[in-house]
Symmetry: C2
Subunit: 289 residues, 2 copies
Amino acid sequence: MNARIFVGERQVDAWPIGNRLASYGDGLFETMRVHRGAVPWWSSHWDRLADGASRLRIGLPGEALVRQAAASLFDDAGDGVLKLLLGRGGAGRGYAPTLSAAPVWMLSRHALPDAVESVSTHWCRTRLSIQPALAGLKHCNRLEQVLARGECEDAGVDEGLMLDTDGNVVSAVAANLFVLCEGRWSTPSVARCGVAGVCRAHLIHLLRAGEATMSTAQVEGADAVFLSNAVRGILPLARLGTRTWSPHRAIVDARRLLAGIHPGFAADACSVGHMATDGGNDQMKRERS
Amino acid sequence: MNARIFVGERQVDAWPIGNRLASYGDGLFETMRVHRGAVPWWSSHWDRLADGASRLRIGLPGEALVRQAAASLFDDAGDGVLKLLLGRGGAGRGYAPTLSAAPVWMLSRHALPDAVESVSTHWCRTRLSIQPALAGLKHCNRLEQVLARGECEDAGVDEGLMLDTDGNVVSAVAANLFVLCEGRWSTPSVARCGVAGVCRAHLIHLLRAGEATMSTAQVEGADAVFLSNAVRGILPLARLGTRTWSPHRAIVDARRLLAGIHPGFAADACSVGHMATDGGNDQMKRERS
């Protein structure tokens, strides 16, 4: 893996032995899509990271240094994924945070995942616990997602949809969720659990989507459903358990809007445009029939 | 820090760059009291670790190898704390667990904390989220404890007591909780959140304590309250916000029982016995008045 680890401003060879990320998941991360060596949504990711660091009182390295290190990982101007992992500094035994400790952070470069036209999903048995103190943050306490993702592997589906412990729909395991009902897009609130995705925020604006409490019945009854994240953009849902959806014109439109503000998603939108437009026609035929 | 890191059976120089402990807190830990180079409660700790590894489907290294590595850290037959951190093997990007991956684990040696006669506490604002899938486990998703411990530092108290998001009492930040009401000890259930402490399990047996749903009023109204963990044994509560307790004979008795099954706590029980017996008399005088 192509990676750089830092303690404060100083690059180091390896994770500090007693780091608090390994001990407690005491940190935050960002996973960014890189297009021709650049990160089009850098500001959105950085702002979310800074907000999370402020809420958790974790030190933040200088943005210029982080950008410089990120650029050095993509000096071939290639496409890919940039992950930034930020951990609280200080020792890894004892929960007490040392607020003045220099943070530990890592940048790593990864390949883009394969493009897919749509995804199959199921409802995960693992629920998301309700914790307003951490809700919205992309923090490193992710055992619920690991368990839920394990269920997807066992079931042979591409992704899983997750409920909170009260039974409300929250998101997919590694993506947010948008549903189309009566011509209007909406996405579950992330005020009590779940991640406030960077792509989700852009899509709320682009689609004038509402944030809502959402039931499983609302998702299963929706005219179209897609997942979103900052690496893969928009992923149409083809299947949820026994419920299936044909491609829908509104998702094609959403992908085009997204491609308009992030060049990395432009190729994706073109490559599936033909399929999806046909599908959109199918959908319209179905609606007319 | 005196530590050893392994991947499977192989000792390595440093944490693997993309380890899942740092990425997701995808692991478990045990914190053990070492007495004259030995770990009197080794079996209890190992059994809990094995149970957690089974529930999370994390590979477990061979017990003999782990014991051998632990012994090498305490070959001076000294006292101290032994921490064992066990992480799922495999790569640190993407939630999908690789079930066949060799686990990553670390043993580290730390000094015993200073002995104290009693502790001051408050009610933490940070709540514990309800997650039966993880309840009882000593897993590495500990941001709630980090936030709660930060509150203790800010308030200048020794420890904090935590409620779940429904308002029931669960535990202290880094200890379990026992309360004495009408001559009977009880401790909050950890079926929905909290850690099933090794010391707690021994004390439930020794004190014939019950497990119960517990309110803040029950704790504040108790005749005596103590915290327990496997490193510090029994820590009497002297203060909870404005509520104070005098030392109580029942806690002296509990410490003596605990000392009977763990020689590390024998010295502690003796050193505070005089103070606590005096206090017990105070308590009895108060009860007679």
